[in-house]
């Protein structure tokens, strides 16, 4: 029994002599800068941003609005070229390449003419992955996230929370390893939101994927993440890197612990300072 676990273990972490060479991070962002020129006025959006998502790590970015988080996602996703810097995934350079990440946008953005099942399968379809097995897996997962009976429904028939769960599943079942979640819960009401946070926490701990998560919500970031990058206002840069010490599996109760509250107060203060700074520079 113990031998078996040892073998399983060895597939994820190389034991013995090769331990000196750890697996390359799922995502490494190095020195990314980006500016836009509009009517001869140059606006710097990102300034020398570096961050890292190790294999099977949940990493969050929090920052004031307009800190260039979405631009960063576009650059990682290959929609835009950075002015400087590189993006690597699993050790290989992928700056400006598309199709390397699994993306979950702010709005569910499910395709209204596709059934929920076909929506969930689209990422694999685009990549040309055989669909028969994927379809079975999708059905299994849809049932698991409480969407059984809705496989053949169209997105407009679902509530906001259900649509978001389907959109998450679409990202989860995508063939790409790294998931980018762009404020996935910001459009939901408070109650649905906390429910979705709990749901995501459980799901992620069961099924560890490398995740980069953007949010405005500090509590959400603290609850879910291994590490948080606090961004400054425009131009966005990494102000603080905070490792979150809480052990896994986490439960929602940790949000009441003194350490959690302390961290929350610290992060809130940084955010408030940044918000004020960007407000004064604007005004």
């Amino acid at each position: 029994m113990s031998e078996e676990t040892q073998i399983q273990h060895s597939t994820t972490e190389t034991p013995g002599s090769s331990q000196a060479v750890p697996a390359p991070p799922a995502l490494e962002v190095k020195g990314i800068s980006k500016a836009y020129t509009e009517r001869r006025r140059v606006t710097s959006v990102l300034n020398n941003v570096s961050l890292k998502v190790e294999q099977q790590e949940f990493v969050s970015i929090v920052g004031p609005s307009g800190c260039g988080k979405s631009t960063l996602f576009h650059i990682i996703g290959g929609l835009e070229q950075p002015d400087a810097g590189t993006i690597s995934m699993n050790g290989s350079l992928v700056t400006g390449q598309r199709g390397e990440i699994s993306y979950m946008p702010q709005q569910p953005a499910l395709f209204p003419w596709r059934t929920i099942e076909d929506n969930v399968l689209i990422a694999g379809e685009i990549k040309g992955v055989p669909q028969d097995q994927a379809r079975e897996e999708a059905r299994h997962w849809l049932a698991k996230v409480g969407l059984s009976g809705f496989e053949r429904a169209y997105p407009h028939m679902l509530s906001g929370g259900m649509q978001q769960r389907a959109a998450f599943l679409r990202a989860l079942l995508a063939p790409q390893e790294l998931m980018l979640l762009d404020e996935p819960f910001s459009a939901l009401d408070a109650l649905t939101r906390s429910e979705m946070q709990r749901w995501l926490l459980e799901l992620w701990e069961e099924n560890r994927r490398s995740v980069l998560f953007i949010t405005h919500n500090i509590e959400e970031a603290l609850l879910l993440s291994n590490r948080i990058y606090v961004f400054s206002g425009r131009p966005g840069s990494v102000l603080h890197t905070v490792d979150i010490p809480f052990p896994r599996p986490r439960r929602e109760e940790i949000t009441d612990s003194p350490e959690f509250l302390l961290l929350k107060r610290q992060l809130s203060q940084w955010m408030r300072e940044e918000q004020e700074k960007s407000a004064t520079t604007k005004g």
Partner: protein, 253 residues
């Protein structure tokens, strides 16, 4: 069932109101039948002449059913081409609009000179009337796909063709269908105009015949038939749309 009735009764009442007003006006002011026949006159004439007019109706229907699909197909092909190859759009879009500035009535005699009195000039005329609404509506539909979904597709690694087939084409369907619906009503009109220029049967031919005989009531019978044909064609397209765009949320629910 109740909701269909709720949608149906206002236009029905309006039409009945209009017909009653017409009927009353004709009899009150003693309008001569050769100037303006009353609705009951028209119905009477319709019943009396039903078998005679049936041949003409079939001929026009046949012409419409050949011309309309061709016109729609041409419109679709132009839209797809101009969408997928942006330089063709810049080159041909002004020409497209120009083609609609030439009145079809003026074009008809020319088509006869070039292509004779056969089927071909008539089909060309219907196509010229039909393709434009389809082309313009489809093009704007193709260009208006959702930006977030487009970003999603790109990040997922979709190529141009995949973006076209999986995003742009399906999202253009509602606006494509509004173009096809307009074309459907134009198609019957186009067929009638085509028959004016040279035919030996069809509603357009029938109208010319009755006009020269001052058979105003029969002219109105022809108009009623044209309206009915347009409505039926429109309804068929609307049904097709309902089935193909069934994923769209209903507005009133």
């Amino acid at each position: 069932m109740r909701s269909t009735w709720k949608q149906l009764w206002p236009p029905l009442v309006a039409v009945i109101f209009l017909l009653t007003g017409w009927q009353l006006a004709v009899s009150l002011f003693h309008v001569e039948a050769w100037i303006l026949p009353s609705p009951t006159d028209i119905i009477r004439e319709f019943n009396a002449n039903a078998t005679g007019i049936w041949v003409h109706t079939l001929a026009t229907l046949r012409l419409t059913l050949i011309g309309f699909p061709i016109g729609t197909a041409v419109g679709l092909i132009i839209a797809l081409l101009l969408h997928l190859l942006p330089w063709t759009r810049r080159a041909f879009y002004p020409l497209l609009i120009l083609s609609q500035n030439v009145p079809s009535i003026a074009l008809a005699p020319l088509l006869v000179i070039w292509f004779g009195f056969g089927l071909l000039p008539k089909i060309i005329l219907i196509t010229l009337v039909c393709f434009f609404p389809v082309a313009v509506a489809t093009m704007s539909g193709l260009a208006q796909s959702d930006g977030i979904m487009l970003n999603y597709m790109k990040m997922a690694g979709a190529g141009k063709w995949q973006i076209f087939t999986k995003l742009e084409l399906p999202s253009s369907l509602p606006s494509l269908f509004s173009g096809v619906k307009i074309s459907a009503t134009y198609a019957v009109m186009g067929a009638v105009v085509a028959e004016w220029i040279g035919a030996d049967k069809g509603i357009g031919y029938y109208m010319l015949l009755q006009k020269s005989a001052y058979h105003t009531d029969r002219m109105f019978v022809a108009i009623v038939i044209i309206v009915l044909l347009s409505l039926v064609l429109f309804a068929i397209i609307a049904l097709l749309e309902k089935w193909l765009v069934r994923w769209k949320p209903r507005r009133n629910s």
